[in-house]
Amino acid sequence: MKHAVCAADELPADGVLPATVDGIAVVIVRTATGELHALRDICPHQGALLSKGSLEAAVDGPSVGVYELSDTRMILRCPWHGYEFDVDTGRCLADASSRVRTYPVTVEDGMVVVER
């Protein structure tokens, strides 16, 4: 079922917005390139609100001592312990067995719409 969450222009240009969708805490993410993502707003570790964390570019390392900051892959870092979650897949970058639920999100008629 689709739920209108807020007006699209209420979203920060490059940041997050906490919302409630059908009684569930969801964090809406808009990246600098304009992509939208919606994730459950609870860290699976100890339940912190991911919307209180930071939106950052993911970093990869092809070999020891080499850092490559992604142009496209963004992560939400939990405000409590720094766990990183891919905003597109919800997957924890360190632990493939841990992930945050994601939801389809679009803009329809100027409104941010989350499907749940």
């Binding site: 570790h45 993911a58 970093v59 990869d60 390392g61 092809p62 070999s63 020891v64 001592g65 080499v66 850092y67 490559e68 939990c78 312990h81 720094g82 766990y83 990183e84 924890c92 970058l93 360190a94 632990d95 841990s98």
Partner: protein, 366 residues
């Protein structure tokens, strides 16, 4: 009894897994440094014969509080013979006395703890390796051995690994657990690469050079109790500097630290990695996954625990393939390989710990 095994081909595959014991921590010793002279160039011989070099200086302040010193009392030879210095002693005390089928030699020769003069140290390491092969390995087919290297000159260490690593009875590279440098540093990577290309594991073992985070504490018991922590630090360095990611075929064996620390170690390292991964993005797997696929530990000295707690420990490790039995022959606190674990364990588990896990760990035992 065992001497008639000289020259007889030894077939590991013919061992009965129900009773076979592979002891992964055995220490051979020379009578004196003079044993190495035939394997040294004349220039380096002078330092021992004429200039009085007496071996790697011992820095730690301790003596083992036992009338056997660091030797198990029932293995202390008579008549001034140096412990663990002859095949006859090892055959009667270890193979016959303890029911060991195959033993891996680790020496008592921590040349990597030398902090300089690497050309000389490298020559002595090569001499030791040649002596080990000629004096121990070739006369006794039930023995396997180590490449001793000067770790702080990694390119020379790699050359030595390539030089003797192809011997059919050499199965590992030996590194003492130094505590002033970290083996995960890319500086040391040539050693691990050389081990892998020669189908050798890398083995860590503490020695006099190993310090605790408090340095050398006031008493031996304090120092001995803290040994696992030093190995944990080196393991952490190796994991977070991406050694296992770069060399997934590598096996790291940690000796003489028991195994009960592993669950704690894996839980904590995983938790740290989940939160701090971005600092070490070249690490692609959880530390516990690296441990389960690449790290094995020897049992001795094994913490005393009930069968219930031992089975809980295996469950917490998430694998029954991490432990390998060891005696630490001939040291003062050596374990019996057949009596060191709680009674009543399943035969399948005992076969793994005493035999199958070592076979799976050392490529050259297969």
């Amino acid at each position: 009894m065992a001497t008639d095994l000289d020259q007889r081909p030894f077939d590991i595959g013919a061992l009965d897994p129900r009773t076979a014991v592979i002891d992964v921590d055995v220490h051979e010793q020379f009578q004196s440094l003079n044993d190495l002279l035939p394997y040294l160039d004349d220039h380096w011989k002078r330092y021992i014969v004429d200039y009085g070099w007496r071996g790697v200086p011992k820095e730690s302040p301790y003596g083992v509080p036992s009338t056997g010193g660091n030797t198990r009392l029932d293995w202390k030879p008579e008549g001034g013979v140096v412990r663990a210095s002859t095949l006859e002693l090892m055959r009667s005390q270890l193979f016959d006395g303890e029911g060991v089928s195959l033993a891996i030699l680790n020496g008592m020769f921590h040349i990597s703890s030398m902090t300089g003069w690497y050309e000389f140290a490298t020559a002595v390491a090569s001499a030791y390796n040649d002596w080990q092969i000629e004096y121990w390995l070739e006369p006794e087919p039930r023995l396997r051995g180590s490449v001793h290297v000067v770790a702080h000159d990694p390119s020379a260490a790699a050359r030595e690994i390539d030089r003797v690593g192809g011997h059919p009875q050499i199965v590992q590279v030996f590194l003492p657990t130094v505590t002033d440098r970290e083996y995960g540093d890319p500086f040391y990577r040539p050693i691990f690469e050389a081990a892998v290309r020669n189908d050798l594991v890398v083995t860590l073992h503490h020695g006099n050079e190993t310090k605790t985070t408090l340095g050398y504490p006031r008493y031996f018991v304090e120092w001995h109790n803290a040994i696992p922590h030093a190995n944990m630090c080196q393991l952490t360095s190796i994991i977070f500097n991406g050694v296992f990611d770069a060399l997934p075929e590598l096996k790291l064996v940690i000796l003489e630290t028991g195994g009960s620390w592993l669950p704690h170690y894996m839980w904590r390292a995983d938790q740290q990695y989940r939160g701090l991964r971005l600092e070490v993005p070249w690490v692609k797997r959880m530390p516990s996954e690296h441990v389960r696929s690449s790290v094995r530990v020897a049992t001795q000295p094994f913490d005393e625990m009930s069968r219930k707690h031992f089975e809980m420990l295996i469950d917490q490790m998430g694998s029954d393939e991490l432990l390998m039995v060891s005696t630490d022959y001939p040291h003062f606190d050596a374990d019996s390989p057949l009596r060191n674990l709680p009674g009543g364990l399943p035969d399948e588990l005992l076969e793994k710990i005493r035999f199958r896990n070592a076979l799976a760990t050392f490529p050259k035992l297969r």
